[in-house]
Amino acid sequence: MITQKEVEYVAELAQLYLSDKEKELLTKQLENILNLVNKLKELNTEGIEPTSTVIPITNVFREDKVKESFANEESLMNSPEKEKGYFKIPKIME
């Protein structure tokens, strides 16, 4: 059983604003989806290694060489707000 409180807590973790109506609907729908995924509890997976990727690679290294990268202007081209070559955000501290 999932409560609206839990949905609110998870939304906080995800930094996601939800309206009251959305919270209510999501609580109901999550309950159904969790019923679906809870099916996995039937399976005994003791001693089974988890698969995080299907391809047989681990870390991929490359030489530490300087390559072409974005100019300041290109990096800022999609910014919602900018000033003097920087991304601008609302105040962090009062």
Partner: protein, 488 residues
């Protein structure tokens, strides 16, 4: 037949024989799009001016002789609006990226350009590729060209519509749980999801990084092989792309399939499959047998756990990938927020649609303290079991045949309010993403309502060529792929 109805390889032949110019082809498609796309809504944005310029350049080069040019030189293509193309919009079907301009080319886009393919527009999709119908697109749904009251499938629905309704001869989509194969089946075209690691994901906006793969839509199997020759291959910019040789896929297109072992998994022939789908698949199996293939029964015992495993892994990865949309560096920002934290929350709350929010919440939940082991880690372990099922099955057979979807295209609005019902429409396609395997959907019949039916062929890792061979054998013995929708 109209010029826009030709396959890419036929257009390529006409170009080489100087019977038509690249500019004429592009103009013909623009005309076609202007005629039908206000209804079908296969595109989010057009790239007409640039496409005409490129076509002119191609014609100049073609006039000097076509002998050493790549096979698809001068041919138009559409791409899903999840792939970055320098200095053009890439929205991912979302309000949060509505005005985002890609600062660089995806590797596949670079490859298209290097091979003389001309990108004519960007295709509609479910927001962030989350969905099975295009109904989750911020820009509104695409319609199924076979029946306007039905969905084209998704998430790469726009790409499937483009090819089915001849709004482009080829298209690129992406497939995380069936997002190429399911719309290909619903629209009656060929759609291939390559092996994970076969095609570079650099410049593909991430949904679930361990499952996402780029692949083509086409009118026939030869076109599929030709475009695979363009997009496949190792890329150092994608650490998950695999450095192995890429074959010439057209070499596999020979008709002989004698002795090939087709695996039929019992678990995929379940209650709830539409009768017409069932009989089309059975007819296909009989045809393969007649052509010399051997049919064997195989078992994939963890099939019933695939959907649950998928929705835990995919949403967990999505919640992490989508954390980057915070209104700081790019994308939508809620400007009324008074402080940084509110800006994050409100920008995300305003910018994401319902399904995306649902998956972020589920993904965050299964990764959160106290639930990580029970859900995420558990799903990763079951993923191992699902992968092993296929490894065992492939000891008995060379490829596996299933329906692509349990039903034909469903009605617009039919499943949108019930997420679980919507998720179930991917039930036959998600297992191959979990196992990383290549799989194709090809047209294999029509229902009584004249809706296309798709057959899925699943291969061993990196055996796209072998799948194409089997698909080709089916195609030359049938004519389903030649049928055209009436657009109504």
């Amino acid at each position: 037949m109209k010029l826009f109805e030709y396959t890419a390889h036929e257009l390529s032949r006409l170009l080489r024989e100087r019977k038509v110019s690249s500019k004429e082809i592009v103009k013909e498609y623009i005309k076609r799009i202007e005629e039908v796309d206000n209804k079908l809504h296969a595109y989010i944005s057009y790239n007409f001016d640039n496409a005409l310029l490129k076509a002119k350049e191609c014609d100049k080069i073609l006039s000097k002789g076509a002998d050493n040019l790549p096979p698809l030189f001068g041919i138009p293509i559409s791409i899903k609006d999840i792939l970055c193309m320098k200095n053009t919009k890439v929205t991912c079907g979302s309000k949060i990226l509505e005005n985002f301009i890609a600062p660089y080319d995806a590797t596949v886009v670079e490859k298209l350009k290097n091979n003389g393919l001309i990108v004519i527009g960007k295709c509609n999709m479910d927001e962030f590729a989350m969905g099975s119908s295009t109904e989750n697109s911020y820009f509104g749904p695409s319609l199924n060209p076979w029946d306007f009251s039905r969905v084209p499938g998704g998430s790469s629905g726009g790409s499937a519509v483009c090819v089915a309704a001849s709004e482009s001869p080829l298209s690129l989509g992406t497939d995380t749980g069936g997002s190429i194969r399911q719309p290909a089946a619903f629209c009656g075209v060929v759609g291939l999801k390559p092996t994970y690691g076969r095609v570079s994901r650099y410049g593909l906006i991430a949904f679930a990084s361990s499952l996402d793969q780029i692949g083509p839509f086409s009118k026939d199997v030869l076109d599929c092989a030709l475009i695979m020759n363009v997009i496949a291959g190792y890329d150092e910019k994608d650490s998950t792309s695999v450095n192995i040789e890429t074959p010439d896929y057209t070499r596999y297109l020979v008709s002989d399939i004698k002795g090939v072992r087709i695996g039929i998994p019992n678990e995929y022939f379940i209650k709830g499959i539409e009768e017409d789908v069932n009989s089309s698949i059975n007819n296909a199996i009989r045809l393969f047998e007649k052509n010399g293939a051997k049919v064997v029964n195989v078992s994939l015992p963890h099939t019933e756990y695939c959907l649950a495993t998928y929705y835990i892994i995919a949403t967990a990865e999505a919640s992490s990938n989508l954390a980057r949309y915070d209104g700081v560096h790019y994308g939508y920002r809620n400007k009324s927020a008074k402080n940084l934290w509110d800006m994050y929350k409100m920008s995300r709350g305003d910018g994401f649609g319902e399904e995306v929010k649902r998956r972020i919440i589920l993904g965050t939940y299964v990764l959160s303290a106290g639930y990580y082991d029970a859900y995420y880690l558990k799903a990763q372990k079951v993923r191992t079991l699902i992968k092993r099922d296929f490894e065992e099955a492939f000891k008995e057979c060379d490829f596996i045949l299933t329906p692509t979807t349990p039903t034909t295209a469903f009605k617009i609005g039919e499943k949108i309010s019930d997420p679980v019902q919507m998720y179930l429409s991917d039930i036959f396609t998600i297992s191959t993403n979990l196992a990383g395997l290549p799989a194709i959907s090809i047209p294999c019949g029509f229902s009584k309502e004249n809706l296309p039916i798709g057959m899925q062929l699943i291969g061993k890792p990196f055996c796209e060529g072998e799948i194409l061979k089997i698909a080709y054998n089916y195609e030359i013995n049938t004519d389903w792929h030649l049928r055209k929708p009436l657009l109504k």
